[in-house]
Amino acid sequence: MLEVTGLRVAYGGIQAVRGINFHVAEGEMVALIGANGAGKTSTLKALARLLNAAGGSVRFRGEEISKLAPHALVSAGIALVPEGRGVFPRMSIVENLQMGAYCRSDKDAIAADIEHIFGLFPRLKERARQMAGTMSGGEQQMLALGRALMSRPKMLLLDEPSMGLAPIMVQKIFEVIRTVASEGMTVLLVEQNAKLALETSQRGYVMESGEITLTGDAADLLSDPKVRAAYLGE
């Protein structure tokens, strides 16, 4: 579904991503793990077109998307959950979800989808009229995920969904990510929490200083001594 070849990202003269190749098949959940500064977020930002790639190609369902404007990706079927839970702090939960459906005009279906999201996150329903900025970090992350789903994407890009959250919240968020994935959603998950990411995904890529150094089934990576030493603290 997503085919990345030779992707390069540079900030000025510094290469953050040095020509990486990876792919995500339809209905698959793939983790991109690595240490701080390995180039994971740069990769995701380039995919989401929040910054320009220095080279390489990104094909989504057979079409080149590396030159599209960021907003056009949403109509193409890719939804990003930005790092640091980019919710609209002074909009209510419902308004945030409605913004997620900005590109859609089918009012009844939007209302139904909001109910669906509330089903996934009962917590959001309790606070439907509350300002997003007044919620806890975990609740905001739930909202960001819910908002991304509101565009009815074919693929989700998740940028560090566990960042800065209490362990119990991380568990809850990942439960929902698993539910969404089990319903057939294609997911690319960028995570520092390698263990959790690999436990949730089918396959994984390990990034190190801008390059992909290891790849394989998530279970194999989890038992790989190198991965265990570098990322699982063993």
Binding site: P82, M99, G100
Partner: protein, 359 residues
């Protein structure tokens, strides 16, 4: 504030209030004219122009959250459009109906010209660039008298045609079925009609998809992009819409004054309009209107009131009212911002921001 909320639910009360406000607005010039004289009626006419400007700037600053410090440039563009197309300067005498839309369109283009290179800027950085833009326009107007004389330089353009509606000039008293409508009254009604039109358009915009997109960009630009909002076009639209309102107000100003010069479009004017928006309540239409009225009338009140008050209290005038005026005005601004930091009449969204509480 509670009573306004009640109007939303009680339809009859809402209609009664609308009719009452309508009657009040209709008789206002006669009340003000006979009670306070034509000086004050003139000030009220200006207040209406400032309301249009404040509403225009509110789109850029209040809705889209783009701090524009050079907004008066669009007012200048509209005013000079009118001045050049309806004055002896080029011997052109086009009607208002042709000039105002053209002025709005050209101001809108200037809005895009300002917006396009500043798309990546926000907050204080954007403020500095827009401030520079405002000054560039003013300095251009000041110097475009050589080698080809276009704007007549610092002398400005005089002898501008008054606004005519159906061949009737608004600069002279108008006979209406044996009843005479003085010029200032006629301008009042014209300005009121256009201000109401702008209020209507602004309210419609606020509640539209575009309005929600502006708020989303103000709140979090990356998240807005992630929602599929074309942030570039939506921002440019905010600049263009805001600027075109300024252009309309500028055209009216030129016809009303019959004279324009670069002096009228100084940085101080931009700051003044920004104060109206901030002090009234950023993003809230009634608040911005209130800000426009207060900030036009307060300085005049101090100008005209400071002398007599001193005379009565001290028996003589100790401080020049002209000098005292801005001092009192500045104090009033500080007091309002200290005690009502979200503005006099903030939008519910901004109230939440300052209180940080739940809805």
């Amino acid at each position: 504030m509670m009573r306004f909320e009640a109007l939303r639910h009680d339809k009859r009360a809402a209609i009664a209030a609308t009719v009452l406000i309508g009657i009040l607005l209709a008789v206002a010039p006669f009340l003000i004219g006979s009670a306070a004289g034509s000086t004050w009626l003139r000030i009220v006419d200006f207040a209406l122009l400032y309301i249009m400007l404040a509403l225009g700037l509110n789109i850029v600053v209040g809705f889209a959250g783009l701090l524009d410090m050079g907004y008066i440039a669009f007012y200048a563009v509209g005013a000079y459009m009118y001045a050049l197309l309806a004055s002896p300067q080029f011997g052109l005498h086009l009607p208002m109906w042709a000039i105002l839309p053209a002025g709005a369109a050209v101001a809108g283009i200037f809005g895009v010209l300002l917006g396009a290179p500043t798309l990546r800027l926000r907050g204080d950085y954007l403020a500095i660039v827009t401030l520079g833009f405002g000054e560039i326009i003013r300095i251009f107007l000041n110097n475009l008298n050589a080698p080809v004389n276009i704007t007549n330089g610092p002398q400005g353009i005089s002898g501008i045609d008054p606004i005519r509606i159906g061949g009737v000039s608004l600069s002279k008293p108008i006979d209406l079925f044996g009843f005479t409508l003085p010029s200032l009254h006629a301008y009042y009604y014209l300005f009121l009609a256009l201000a109401l039109a702008i209020v209507f358009v602004t309210i419609r915009l606020e509640n539209s998809r575009i309005g929600r997109a502006w708020v989303a960009i103000r709140e979090d630009e990356i998240a807005a992009k992630a929602c599929g909002i074309n942030t570039r076009n939506i921002k440019l639209l905010a600049f263009a819409m805001g600027a075109s309102f300024g252009g309309v107000a500028g055209g009216l100003f030129a016809g009303f004054q019959a004279f324009v010069s670069p002096e009228s479009f100084s940085l101080m004017e931009s700051v003044m309009v920004l104060c109206m928006v901030v002090l009234g309540g950023m993003g809230n239409i009634p608040g911005v209107i209130l800000g426009g009225i207060l900030l036009t009338i307060l300085p005049e009140l101090f100008r005209h009131g400071a002398g007599p008050v001193q005379q009565a209290v001290f028996g003589k005038i100790l401080l020049d009212p002209e000098a005292l005026r801005m001092l009192l005005f500045g104090l009033a601004l500080i007091v309002v911002m200290l005690y009502r930091p979200a503005g006099l009449w903030p939008s519910t969204r901004r109230r939440r921001e300052f209180k940080g509480g739940a809805a």
